[in-house]
Amino acid sequence: MPTASIDFTLATFTMIFLVMGAISGINMVAEPYIKPVAHDQERYGQLGRYMLLSQGNPADWGSGGIPTGLGFSSEGGAYELDIDKVTRLNPSNAYAINYSSLWQALGVDDVSFRIEVETLFDLALNLTSSQGQGNATVYTFSALTASSGYPVQAQLSYYVALRNSTYSATGSTDRMGLGSIQFTLPDSQNGTALLVSMAKMSGSIVSYDVLPFAHNSGEPKASGTYAILNPLNHVLDVDLQQGATAWNAAVLTKNYAFNLTSNGANYTIPHLLDASPMIIVLTGANSSDCWAEWVAYPQVPLEIGANMSDDYAVSDVVAVTYVVGIEGASYRLTFKFRSPAAYD
């Protein structure tokens, strides 16, 4: 074979490998910046559906213990989640499960994840004004209902919990998502009060907000100063702090408000048919203050899982969003998945 032919053949193959290598290299470098590959997206979607459609192992792990299989479903229909399994995802609950246990229960070694649960729209309460009127004070509050900045029209229930009393009223927000309400509280009472409001947009789509405010007293202390409330398995576990004494516990939902009966140091939470989150309010006193603490049941909004805030820069985090039901009310649940091994 002449030397020219050998040169030509070598040059041809070199050129082929260079072109193929360049294309392959560009694809590899650009891939994280474009979108995840199909099999990752599909795999993450299947992982999310598995966790939402299975009950986990044991099936009643929401009431206690560490699960060996991860699933949040209740015995209800598709995408209906167990109130206690969701509550145990909230790190502020004393019975919460940490991310390490969740990750081991899922059993997929090369995937890290983060779970976020929130209401489908937001309700924000603000104290607009307070004015003395004889032996009482009139408080005016504003309410704003919106979803991702888009105003939402909703029907609202308002409650004010102060010492042993609960005052209630109803209202609505207009097409701009704005509403207001007034409460008149007697000056014979004083202490930290809680304004609790539930907003219902339609059917099962509800949201809530809680606003502590001072009534003839000093500014409200941070949540958890006098009592830490841990709802689970329809029992409210109360951990009193700083020598505080509990006076009254009440459950507030969109349509109902009633007091709870004490069961020693705990309170039994009833099963309700109302499609609404429950806000549990506990009032009491210590040597100097009349206080009010609260907790939501299910204990949402919540976030738990791997920290992925730094990883968006390389766009290898896949977020999968679902609308789920918990005790008749709808919430948005977002899974964020990432495979560190694939990137590192």
Partner: protein, 136 residues
């Protein structure tokens, strides 16, 4: 044909083969990305309809012809970056909604359509076909 001419023909043939192979190989990645977008949109839309139907909201709003409220519910239930257009058909295929149920038209690189069969609990148990078009 001279020997030099034959070599040039071979050169051209090899060059054309290399370019064709490179184009074929490079074309694989964009096709895969489009597929992902479609599946994600469809999945999100279908899951939202399943959940809204599961708690009775979808059937109640369709049966009551509350198109404005249905639009508000979809705005909240679907992710923020997704545009939608929904049409409700009766059992004979005639559209029922006399107003547009949309958040401003279909916008996005990918537009997908899915259909959902809806049975409503009532005296006559009507069936509806819900067509949800999504853009994102």
């Amino acid at each position: 044909m001279t020997r030099r001419g034959a070599v040039h023909t071979l050169d051209a043939f090899l060059a054309a083969s290399i370019i064709a192979m490179a184009l074929l190989y490079a074309a694989q990645t964009p096709r895969e990305r489009d597929y992902i977008g479609e599946e994600t949109l469809k999945g999100e839309g279908m899951q939202a309809l399943v959940q809204l139907n599961g708690n009775g909201t979808l059937g109640r709003l369709v049966e009551a012809r509350s198109w404005g409220e249905l639009e508000q519910v979809l705005r909240i239930a679907l992710p923020g970056g997704v545009s939608f257009n929904l049409t409700v058909f009766d059992e004979f295929g005639s559209p029922l909604n006399n107003v547009t149920i949309s958040n401003g038209g279909l916008v996005g690189r990918t537009v997908e359509s899915l259909e959902y069969l809806l049975a409503v609990e009532s005296g006559v148990c009507p069936l509806y076909r819900v067509r949800l078009q999504l853009g994102g």
